[in-house]
């Protein structure tokens, strides 16, 4: 579904999308990295519809994913890091007191 515009010359690293290893180019955003394997959808809305990265610049909040255990992260603003665990986000995440960073 998605094609890269140019071939990379950079270093590759491994991240995990839904538990599956993914070879990606260092320095890319999580949104760009998972566009292919995610078939374009990276979360569901509270009504259950599939949503995916849209603006790619931090404005629309359509690209929210759970990254290294933290929900509601904007995948388009987050750079990939070796060993990163990236999950699709289903619906609205829970935000109980335990989750807060106090």
């Amino acid at each position: 579904m998605f094609k890269k515009v140019s071939e990379s010359k950079g270093k590759t690293i491994t991240i995990y999308f839904e538990g599956q290893p993914l070879e990606v180019e260092e320095g890319m955003t999580v949104a760009a990295a998972v566009l292919g394997p995610s078939h374009g959808w990276t979360r569901t809305s509270h009504g259950g519809q599939k949503r995916g990265p849209y603006c790619q610049m931090g404005v629309c909040h359509e690209c929210l994913m759970t990254i290294d255990g933290v929900p509601n992260q904007q995948a388009c603003l987050t750079a990939v890091v070796e060993g990163m665990q990236v999950f699709r986000q289903n619906g609205v995440p829970d935000f109980h007191k335990e989750n807060s960073h106090e």
Binding site: H61, L64, V92, H96, K97, S100
Partner: protein, 401 residues
């Protein structure tokens, strides 16, 4: 739209008030046309919070009026064709100041005697119910019949129901002038053509004065700005809507202790409402700055700081956006629900911060006034006459066709 139309009554304005007026008129058998220059909820009704409340009116006629108005939502929920996210979970009044505690307790006893369903949570009970509440909050007075809803969906539902009952709905249609013949209303000129009618209801929020002026009726309504912040989507931050007790002081323009100069200057008082989509609305402010509806960073900051005081966890959350709206304010905080001295011209506007809460009851009363009936509840103190700016309004029955 064809160039010539006729209607039994024309309602100008598709906000909560206008759509409610059109809905009750249509249900009352009047051939009504609703004219809105934008889409439904184009004005203040899409820039507000959507609480249907009784917590802020001291005992008396107006308090009973608000309560009666609130009951209509429990009925409307059954017949409106749109799910307007009606949430009758009650609203809590949060107290963070020792010195308010006594007044709040008296209020509790008083409201209970008046038959209100209220409960008082002490500090422990509140913490148990809302684990994310700030340490400085001392108590919460719950108004268990107060409710929240989605104002845009309410407007759509009312417009749809009006249509189903025979109303004509004209969106994207702007009223450019009002006409009279032999001193009584004869029609409405719009950018899409003329509508001949003997009854016009101005339900145009902050724009009502401009429309009144077209027929020489002086309608004293001023825009009072308010800000709302919208957070990212989360579950479990809070279980229902809350308002700080200080909101009542801000609303009535009274001095408050323990707030920053900016909060004082911008009239910031904490209001919070979880939406059904997961975002949380945090408000609000109150100031007179004309028709300005741009969100201002300094006001946003003051609102956010106040929010953190009551729910410190908010500081961990991202804001998605902010919007501001202008409340249609009168000088005595009462709406104008009235006939005028011009036969066939009615005013239903100026509800300030209660336009959603009082939309249905305004619609019901307006439908009665237009049909020449005496309103089912006393509204004489909401007459435009109280300002003394116009010749006396016509008695009920004499304005209708």
């Amino acid at each position: 739209m064809s160039s010539k139309r006729t209607a039994g009554a024309v309602v100008i304005g598709g906000g909560a008030v206008g759509t409610a007026v059109a809905c009750y008129l249509a249900m009352g058998g009047v051939d009504v046309t609703l004219v809105e220059r934008g889409e439904f909820a184009w004005g203040t009704s899409r820039r507000c919070e959507g609480h249907v409340v009784t917590y802020d009116t001291p005992p008396g006629d107006y308090s009973v009026f608000c309560k009666t108005g609130q009951n209509l939502f429990y009925e409307a929920q059954k017949f409106l064709p749109v799910d307007f996210e009606f949430t009758p979970e009650g609203i809590g009044l949060l107290v963070d100041d020792e010195s308010h505690l006594e007044t709040v307790k008296e209020n509790y006893e008083g409201k209970k005697k008046e038959g209100y369903d209220v409960t008082l949570w002490d500090r422990d009970e509140l913490r148990h119910r809302e684990p994310n509440i700030g340490d400085k909050v001392l108590a919460c007075l719950n108004f268990n019949n107060d409710c929240t809803l989605n104002p845009m969906r309410l407007c759509f539902g009312l417009a749809k129901h009006a249509e189903a009952n025979g109303a004509t709905i004209l969106s994207r249609t702007q009223v450019t002038s009002l006409r009279t013949e032999n001193g009584r209303v004869s029609g409405v000129e719009t950018d899409k053509g003329f509508i001949a009618t003997k009854n016009v209801i101005l339900a145009s929020g902050v724009w009502t004065p401009q429309l009144g002026a077209m027929l020489g009726v002086n309608i004293p309504i001023r825009p009072r700005q308010g800000h709302i912040l919208v957070t990212e989507r989360v579950k479990g931050l809070l279980s229902k809507a809350y308002v700080e007790y200080g909101y009542l002081l801000t609303k009535h323009g009274l001095k408050r202790e323990n707030v920053t100069p900016d909060m004082d200057k911008f009239g910031v008082a904490f209001v919070i409402e979880p939406s059904s989509a997961g975002t949380v609305l945090v408000g609000s402010s109150r100031r007179f700055v004309g028709m300005d509806i741009r969100p201002h960073p300094a006001v946003m900051r003051a609102v956010a700081e106040r929010g953190n005081h009551f729910f410190p966890t908010l500081s961990d959350m991202r804001l998605l956006r902010c919007y501001a709206g202008v409340r249609p304010a009168t000088s005595d905080e009462l709406p104008i629900i009235s006939t005028t001295h011009v036969p066939g011209l009615f005013v239903g506007a100026g509800h300030e911060g209660l336009g959603i809460s009082l939309s249905l009851i305004t619609g019901k009363i307006m439908s009665e006034l237009v049909r020449g009936e005496t309103p089912f509840i006393d509204t004489s103190y909401m007459s435009i006459d109280r300002f003394g700016f116009n010749p006396p309004a016509l008695p009920v029955g004499e304005t209708s066709a």
